[in-house]
């Protein structure tokens, strides 16, 4: 069974159909990428899956159950973690604290226990800290744990977002253009991290503008154009698809599609 699935998702903005009957599914241990030229509806689809937008038609399923009524926070608690292209970190908190907040929903002991400094709470706090440090280690940020989050360079802020998401032990990770604006080395590190996460059986859906990044990485690629799915399959099959080439070459310069 797929971890996260879209069924006939449609969303209109005024007269424009931004997403038009899109269906796709991501399974455990699968890295599924959604690509498409500018204005193809990638972002809208992403926000429909995250819960920041409501569909006009269609459903979003998590482990087979419809979750359309759930707000983003509730979806996060179910195990759908999101990282956005623009980093959304907690400024004024350290890198480690940022990661620990990601594990917030896993903690059981709260207000009174914390107030009384019960041993159970202390143990849990220590566990959370260990867990967050492990997540930072995975994304290569263990050395920066004590640093204020906002002082990290962009690539590391992106990585911290992933670490924060991992702290919540998500079933599925939604990544919005994670490679955008990253330098080559940072991009390489990100690709390696995503591969490692896939090996762990994490389901991942990534929306990406950068075709080269995606074809080297993804198991399945869905190509959107003007809100519709025009192709879906393994990267090798997609890159030769005449419809896909036309969609990219027809609207913008080929070099541009790489940015």
């Amino acid at each position: 069974m797929s971890v996260l699935a879209a069924e006939g998702l449609t969303r209109r903005f005024g007269g424009v159909v931004a997403v038009d009957g899109v269906s796709l599914a991501v399974g455990a241990g699968e890295l599924h990428a959604v690509i498409g030229p500018n204005g193809a509806g990638k972002s809208t689809l992403f926000h429909l899956l995250s819960g920041h937008l409501r569909p006009d038609a269609g459903r979003v399923l998590f482990q087979g159950r419809p979750i359309d009524r759930l707000r983003p926070a509730a979806r996060a608690r179910l195990g759908i973690a999101i990282t956005f292209q623009t980093t959304r970190l907690f400024t004024g908190m350290t890198v480690l604290e940022n990661a620990m907040v990601g594990g917030h929903t896993r903690a059981r002991h709260d207000f009174t226990a914390a107030l009384l400094r019960l041993p159970a709470h202390r143990r849990e706090e220590a566990e959370l800290r260990q867990h967050a440090l492990a997540a930072l280690e995975r994304v290569g940020l263990a050395g920066e744990a004590g640093r204020p989050a906002e002082t990290l360079p962009l690539g590391q802020q992106r990585a911290l977002q992933v670490a924060r998401a991992l702290c919540g032990e998500p079933r599925v990770l939604l990544l919005d253009e994670p490679a955008a604006g990253l330098r080559a080395a940072e991009r390489q590190a990100l690709a390696e991290l995503l591969r490692a996460l896939r090996q762990q059986g994490r389901a991942m859906l990534l929306v990406e503008h950068d075709v080269a990044f995606v074809t080297a990485l993804a198991d399945t690629v869905t190509v959107l154009d003007r809100g519709r799915v025009i192709a879906e399959g393994p990267p090798a099959a997609i890159s030769g698809d005449p419809g896909v080439i036309a969609a990219y070459l027809g609207r913008e310069a080929p070099g541009h599609a790489d940015g």
Binding site: P72, L89, A107
Partner: protein, 284 residues
């Protein structure tokens, strides 16, 4: 000289009550963006609760703690009404808290009447510090404030729930992304604000008798303290509270007591102007 020390110590103590109230403002504002006009009412109710519990024979300590908890309950209730489970715009919430403070005043008058109340504070002989005499209750007020504010700072950093509140204050959007329920956090902030306000009231009532309509003046002073930290920084609220408390005592001591509130208002106005100018600078 001993008069100066006397004004200074009493100023620090009153500054502590302003700091507690100000921290309540900050705790609520940084999470919900609501300026809670009912903050002064929490202090008034805290004082009245404590007096009632004591007059029913509860021992000192227990009565005060229960009064603080009850004030927290009032804060929670306030949050429920003002935030309406996240469906009320911030400006509307603000006006609702103003309405709630008026209702609280009326209810207090209805239940307890218009006579100022007080109860004995910490007993024992007056302390002599650098030639100035000080009631032990002043010292208690200072010590409790320091301990509570330090504990609160630690709680915000080193507990899961405290961190979640801090995260909401830092970036509500991202907080939602990691699954934090902003509505619950808003209510928690209101409960916390209620407890801080209640604590201020419980500690100051033995020193300055509490009246049903004392909330406005307390709220003005607490708000002025909170503004020092831009309504988001608890340390700023502490500094602001102390400056205000000491300043008011000096004015009252060397000039005239009736000018106290005037000073608070002038300081508040100055701070607001300063904040507005600073904001304009950072924007341009």
């Amino acid at each position: 000289m001993s008069a100066f020390i006397d004004y200074l110590l009493v100023g620090i103590a009153t500054g502590c009550t302003f700091a507690l109230l100000g921290t309540g403002f900050v705790a609520i504002h940084r999470v919900t963006r609501v300026v809670n006009f009912a903050q002064g009412a929490f202090a008034v109710l805290g004082g009245f609760f404590a007096e009632t519990l004591l007059s029913h024979g509860l021992p000192h300590g227990l009565a005060e703690v229960l009064a603080v908890v009850a004030a927290g309950g009032v804060g929670l209730l306030c949050g429920l009404v003002a935030l309406g489970w996240g469906r009320v715009p911030v400006m509307a919430s603000l006006v609702i808290t103003l309405g709630l403070s008026i209702i609280a005043e009326a209810v207090t008058l209805l239940i307890w009447g218009g006579t100022p109340i007080s109860y004995p504070g910490l007993g024992g002989r007056d302390l002599v510090i650098l030639g100035a005499q000080l009631q032990p209750q002043y010292l208690l007020l200072i010590v409790v404030t320091v301990v509570v504010l330090a504990g609160l700072a630690a709680w915000f950093r080193w507990t899961n729930l405290g961190r979640a509140l801090t995260a909401c204050a830092s970036n509500p959007y991202a907080a939602r992304l990691v699954g934090i329920d902003l509505n619950r956090m808003g209510l928690l902030a209101f409960a916390l604000g209620g407890m801080l306000g209640g604590l201020a009231g419980v500690l100051m009532t033995p020193l300055i008798p509490m009246t049903y309509d004392g909330d406005v003046q307390l709220a003005i002073n607490g708000f002025a303290a909170a503004i020092c930290g831009g309504l988001v920084n608890p340390v700023g609220a502490l500094v602001g509270g102390l400056v205000l408390g000491i300043g008011e005592q000096m004015v009252a001591g060397y000039w005239q007591a009736s000018a106290e509130t005037g000073v608070a208002l002038v300081v508040l106005l100055g701070l607001l102007l300063w904040q507005a100018l600073r904001e304009r600078e950072t924007m341009s």
